[in-house]
Symmetry: C2
Subunit: 221 residues, 2 copies
Amino acid sequence: MDRPSPAVQDYLKAVYQLGESSETEGPITTSQVAEALAVTTASASNMLKKLDALGYVVHVKRQGVELTDSGRQAALEVIRHHRLLETYLATRLGMSWDEVHREAEVLEHHVSEALAARIAEELGHPERDPHGHPIPTIGGQVASPPSQRLSELPDGATAVVGRVDDHDDALLRFLADRGLVPDARVEVLEHAPFGGPISVRVDEDRVVEVPPEAARAVHVE
Amino acid sequence: MDRPSPAVQDYLKAVYQLGESSETEGPITTSQVAEALAVTTASASNMLKKLDALGYVVHVKRQGVELTDSGRQAALEVIRHHRLLETYLATRLGMSWDEVHREAEVLEHHVSEALAARIAEELGHPERDPHGHPIPTIGGQVASPPSQRLSELPDGATAVVGRVDDHDDALLRFLADRGLVPDARVEVLEHAPFGGPISVRVDEDRVVEVPPEAARAVHVE
DNA sequence: TTCGATTGTTATGGCGCCCTAAGAACCGGT
DNA sequence: ACCGGTTCTTAGGGCGCCATAACAATCGAA
């Protein structure tokens, strides 16, 4: 029961996150995984076959893969490490949101369970990372509150920011600049026509313009 | 100018440390390196040839290797990371000496320069790690004070512990138990005959018995 | 329903780093 | 000067993970 290699961990994480973020149920395809990891579909195909052999996924030929319990468990462990590291590096070492993500992407594969546990303790077992994403427990529980995207709220609606997608550093900075961080209160004022920006009042205070692509990355509750 | 692979870093570190700890001048042999890294001499031979090609060492066939400036620089960077991590994990996360060493052995290859710099800053740019080993600067300066081993002191001599070798977890705990940590004052009382233990008064207080092998791991000034 | 485009798979090879086996160079003793 | 033992190097193979190329299955449009 050795720890899976970094490559295997990356694949499992990708499969898990693709399953999370896709509206549609069912298997994750080879090409989705390949794109997420920036490898060829041939490489992904080989690796998914291997993950099946290792018992982490069920691979149905020409359909895709679905995580087994063991695979989900392994994926959540990596995600737990990632988010604990992000939180620690941001709050205890004052690193910026974008630095933190890159750093955690590497270190998540190399911190021991003991260190992860110490970090969690030191942070008081937080439930969310700085972007608002839930931190799985050691047992593999994840709180994932139902959420809506800011882009889908009607004019006049108010809500609280739950989390923001952290795939793009520039977008992250853009949102942070405008106060769109977890726990911010937002009120949708109006949608400009023809795919224009959305006017949003943030924290009962300033009004900012949020382009649709950015609004899609903000999840509210 | 990519970062060398973890394997390359491990070899460079080993060559550097073998050069440090050996009394004799001159090249480091293939088998010394092989033993230090627990690989076969064949593997070491191949890798040393490769390090030569990369410009990190000069390899003279059947003689051994010596670090180039570039190799020494790379080795010191790894050692810097290792010792900063040890210091950080011990003082800020309360991990024990032995846990800390294993953890740093892995993480030293994966922390970014930015993170290493943040850690150094957070710690106030310490000059030594918890075992008393000097922490190289970014530029590659190392303070290495002349030192003698506790095992070599004559009866009646007094000195201050500078550093202790950290290769063996059990030994480390043994020494820590007896107060033989950096900055402890020691007075040699007597050597038992036939390779018996050395009686040492620690911090003008308790008297402990130190077997010769343990005494060799304690460096005093 | 047939054919081209799309998507997935298999085959094969490269690269890094390890191994074992075998051979070459060097050492000390006689 | 030779011979046996030690040390080092070379040769060849394995494993993990990536790639490219070629082939197979599937989908959808006419």
